[in-house]
């Protein structure tokens, strides 16, 4: 039990040696000599004792088990709205020239990739695989990349320039190959614009979520709907010890983690606990009948703790 009264009374009843031991421990915690996983041995009257310290896990060490899915409808609407915004800006004279064709070119490759049938993609992949492993079947490959060759490769006599560096092709008199090779194809895939755009959208979404929400989305045990006991949670124990002995409520790095655990617990309780769902539904019924305003998981602005729900009269 981590009760306020119990801990304080215990501290008052400590011996001189025990107080010394406690102060040693607290000094070690404050000096940040612990990494969160290692244990340090301390000399006590009874003998050496190992102490484990619970610190905030670094973002590098955390495991990300959630993958954000791309909403294609959202992506389309975003692109269309962006295009429309540019058009309007051009109408009002904010932009000199509206280049609609360029935006269309930007849109088309993505839309084409998204709207492709799975069967056609599979066929293409199969052909590419054949090209990669069988050197004899060159005819099929020429059919696959015919359209690309027409676009990218210039007519005979001109040099095929893959990179922007002119030095690589200036001094060579060799006629370039008219067929693309697998490493060319691989190079093209590596700088795929779609992947870049996906990463950009992901970053933008995370920025929109804000600090707290992104923390919840990214960090461990987010997808689970389990309910953890706060009293048995190691982070909560560590933070409460710091709070009682050093009054480190907001300045402690553990405070953020404890707050997040409480918020996760709330959502987990809402999903997994039957009786709490029953309580929530009865609260909704009562508030509907008596004209109360009910909010789920409000946060106290002064203390920062979350409550399960709050009720106010009317629209106040």
């Amino acid at each position: 039990m981590i009760g306020s009264t119990s801990l304080n009374t215990h501290k008052a009843n400590f011996d001189a040696s025990q107080k010394k031991y406690m102060n040693q421990v607290l000094d070690l915690i404050e000096d940040n000599k612990f990494s969160g996983k290692n244990s340090v041995s301390i000399k006590t009257p009874s003998g050496d004792q190992d102490i484990a310290f619970f610190d905030k896990i670094l973002t590098k060490e955390k495991k990300y088990n959630k993958v954000i899915k791309i909403d294609t409808h959202w992506l389309r609407s975003y692109i269309i709205l962006k295009d429309r915004q540019k058009q309007e800006q051009a109408e009002y004279g904010l932009i000199d020239d509206y280049q609609g064709e360029e935006t269309k070119d930007e849109v088309n490759p993505i839309m084409f990739e998204l709207e492709k049938d799975s069967s056609s993609l599979l066929q293409e992949n199969a052909k590419v695989k054949k090209f990669a492993f069988d050197d004899d079947e060159e005819e099929e490959v020429s059919v696959v990349f015919e359209s690309e060759i027409k676009q990218k490769v210039p007519s005979q006599g001109e040099q095929f320039v893959m990179f922007d560096n002119d030095s690589s092709t200036e001094n060579t008199d060799e006629v370039p190959n008219s067929k693309l090779k697998p490493f060319h194809r691989k190079y093209g895939e590596e700088i795929d614009t779609e992947e870049v755009k996906v990463s950009m959208f992901r970053r933008k979404k995370l920025e929109e979520l804000g600090k707290f929400a992104s923390h919840l989305y990214l960090f461990s045990d987010v997808d689970t709907s389990n309910y953890y006991e706060l009293n048995s949670e190691s982070y909560v124990k560590a933070w409460s010890i710091l709070y009682y002995f050093r009054n480190k409520s907001l300045h402690s790095p553990l405070y953020d983690e404890v707050e997040n655990i409480q918020a996760r617990n709330l959502s987990g309780k809402r999903i997994s606990h039957k009786l709490f769902n029953d309580f929530y539904s009865t609260m909704l019924k009562v508030s509907m009948e008596r004209n109360y305003h009910l909010t789920f998981s409000p946060r106290c602005q002064n203390s920062g703790w979350y409550m399960d729900m709050s009720v106010s009269k009317g629209n106040n």
């Binding site: 981590i2 706060l230 009293n231 309780k269 309580f279 008596r290 203390s303 399960d308 106040n316």
Partner: protein
């Protein structure tokens, strides 16, 4: 204070106080309740799982709980 805040405490978060012979929030929940009572603009009401489970007419229980607390707030 114009708002009521509810905290639904599960069985594992409650302990029985022999001195007062009443249920009491355990550990960190006790601290959260104290801080909310002292600092927040809400009137915080703990709802224990055991008492809510034992109620036969839950609608009536919740209705009475809210209306009684609102009346108490208005009288203050």
């Amino acid at each position: 204070m114009h708002k009521l805040g509810f905290i639904f405490l599960l069985k594992e978060d409650i302990c029985y106080n022999l001195e007062t012979s009443q249920d009491q929030p355990l550990g960190i929940y006790n601290m959260i309740m104290k801080q909310l009572k002292n600092m927040s603009n809400y009137k915080v009401i703990p709802v224990y799982e055991s008492t809510f489970q034992s109620e036969q007419d839950r609608f009536d229980y919740v209705d009475r709980l809210i209306s009684w607390n609102f009346m108490e707030m208005e009288s203050e």
